[in-house]
């Protein structure tokens, strides 16, 4: 896995110090860095922040700058230290003037066509059983959907919860496959 991108406002030695604090193995530290950043993004989004990725980056940068001071004395789960800093970043964000409107989700027609083409290819790469499941899981809306999923679960000898979990895992596989397909084009 490539090392995480260092933000422009961060000094190289602070960034290196953060990675070293996260793990002795630089590769594993990079993975950990991305994981924490991704989770902080989800947390900021769930707090209703319009720019969660920006705030997650700001949190990562601040922790990087503080590692030199805390690495010898800090005990406990390091991840929770990020949460404390994230709370400060969030408080400051709340004092900023509010953004006027949400960013619109713009999907170009070409993008839709490409996504659709990739989807077909990715579905065909699934096992026969997964294809059957995913095609039927997403086949119908509303009441018919409920009946269809019940029959599908019955056929597979599993309950609706297990069916949902399987379908969503296949959905996740499709997402990865489609994103790979889109970037390779």
């Amino acid at each position: 896995m490539p090392l995480p991108k260092q933000s422009h406002s961060l000094r190289q030695e602070d960034f290196d110090r953060l990675l070293a604090w996260l793990d002795d193995d630089r590769e594993l530290a990079g993975t950990e860095y991305e994981k924490i950043r991704r989770r902080l993004t989800t947390i900021f989004a769930s707090r209703g922040c319009r720019v969660p990725e920006e705030l997650a980056d700001e949190t990562m940068d601040r922790v990087s700058r503080r590692v030199a001071d805390i690495r010898e004395t800090y005990s406990g789960n390091k991840v929770l230290y990020f949460l404390g800093v994230a709370n400060n970043v969030h408080h400051e964000f709340l004092k900023r003037p509010a953004l006027s409107s949400p960013m619109p989700l713009v999907t170009e027609r070409d993008d839709q066509e490409r996504t659709h083409a990739c989807l077909e290819g990715c579905i065909n790469k699934l096992t026969e059983r997964s294809q059957h499941l995913i095609r039927n899981y997403y086949a119908e809306d509303k009441q018919k959907k409920i009946v269809l999923r019940r029959v599908l679960a019955e056929q597979m000898g599993i309950n609706l919860n297990a069916l949902r979990a399987r379908a969503l895992r296949i959905r996740e596989e499709l997402q990865v496959c489609i994103e790979r397909c889109l970037t390779s084009e």
Binding site: D23, D25, L28, A29, E32, R39, T41, T42, I43, A45, S46, R47, G48, R50, V51, P52, E53, G76, N77, K78, V79, L80, F82, L83, P102, L105, Q112, T115, H116, L119, E120, I123, E128, R129, H132, L133, I134, R135, N136, Y138, A139, E140, D141, K142, Q143, K144, I146, L148, V151, E154, Q155, G157, R164, L168, R171, E172, L174, Q175, I178, E179
Partner: protein, 306 residues
């Protein structure tokens, strides 16, 4: 730090349901739920996997137009804020476009489907009977007979009101009531009806369906009403709109231009709904606030009719 599930320093982690995760992702969780969500998300890899799956489900529900008005607004404002999530929605839309009509091409029961060979048809009684029209007709006849007996029993039995449901009386404020679909034969019922409700259900925002239930002792008549008291999270000077939704997200009834009443320092929106709309099942009421012509999500209330 390489430890995948290092929980040291976090104490016992509160279990969170997928429904709670969903509320957190929509930015509509209660403060204690939000705190548990954040802590678990940071320290628990398995929990993060669950969160990612719920994200996919939300993106799907949005793209397949299965979200109610309030959740749709929360989704647009609080969920669609990263490129990663935009991409999820794009794939969900492609899935809808590609597969939502796929039942015709690859039905679950299709004998030509390769999957139907993998899973024997006999596992499903419904599928089994679909091969035997006589058996199907016999079952239908038996069901009709049972329905007739049930209707006769209901007609004969005296009406009993469940007293525990009637917590307190409230005077509903006038509002414009409407029913879905617009072509419904059910006439709108004025909210200031003098009829005593067969039950009053006080609903709290974020309350669990299991704790907010109503049960009719007998089948409700055409004139019976159930009074809902929707306790507001915060009281603002505004009028409100409410919509009653089935578990599948179908709109059943609605009310607009209703003003909240204040009782014991709690503001609430009071809404009388014809009891006949309420068949056994799970429901939600979506509440929207109207301030200077703009509508805002004001809460979602879950309840169950037993």
């Amino acid at each position: 730090m390489g430890d995948q599930n290092n929980n040291s320093g976090t104490g016992a982690l509160t279990p969170l349901s997928d429904e709670t995760i969903r509320r957190c992702l929509l930015g509509a969780a209660l403060p204690n739920e939000q705190a548990s969500f954040e802590e678990r998300l940071l320290v628990d890899d398995d929990f993060e996997k669950r969160v990612r799956l719920v994200e996919f489900e939300l993106a799907d529900d949005y793209s397949f137009e299965r979200l109610g008005a309030v959740d749709r607004e929360l989704f647009a404002n609080n969920f669609l804020v990263t490129e990663d999530r935009d991409r999820k929605v794009a794939v969900s839309k492609a899935l809808r476009r590609s597969l939502s009509t796929a039942a015709d091409r690859s039905p679950v029961t299709s004998p030509t489907s390769p999957a139907s060979k993998l899973w024997p048809r006999l596992k499903s009684p419904a599928l089994f009977f679909s091969n035997y029209p006589v058996a199907r007709m016999a079952i239908a006849g038996f069901a009709l007979l049972l329905l007739g007996v049930f209707i006769w029993l209901v007609w004969k039995s005296p009406r009993v009101q469940p007293p525990e449901l009637v917590k307190r009386q409230a005077t509903p404020s006038p509002g414009r009531e409407y029913a879905h679909p617009p072509s419904s034969q059910t006439p709108p019922t004025p909210t200031t009806t003098p009829i005593t409700p067969v039950g009053i259900l006080v609903l709290q925002f974020g309350g669990q369906t299991e704790e907010q239930q109503i049960q009719f002792a007998t089948a409700p008549s055409e004139t019976d009403i159930v009074r809902f008291e929707l306790v507001l999270v915060s009281h603002q000077i505004a009028t409100y709109q409410a919509e009653l939704l089935s578990a599948a997200g179908d709109r059943i009834a609605g009310i607009a231009d209703v003003k909240p009443v204040v009782e014991n320092e709690h503001a609430k929106v009071v809404w009388d709904v014809p009891a006949q709309h309420l068949k056994p099942g799970d429901y939600q009421i979506e509440l929207r606030r109207v301030v200077e012509g703009q509508t805002q999500a004001a809460g979602r209330y879950s309840f169950r009719v037993k």
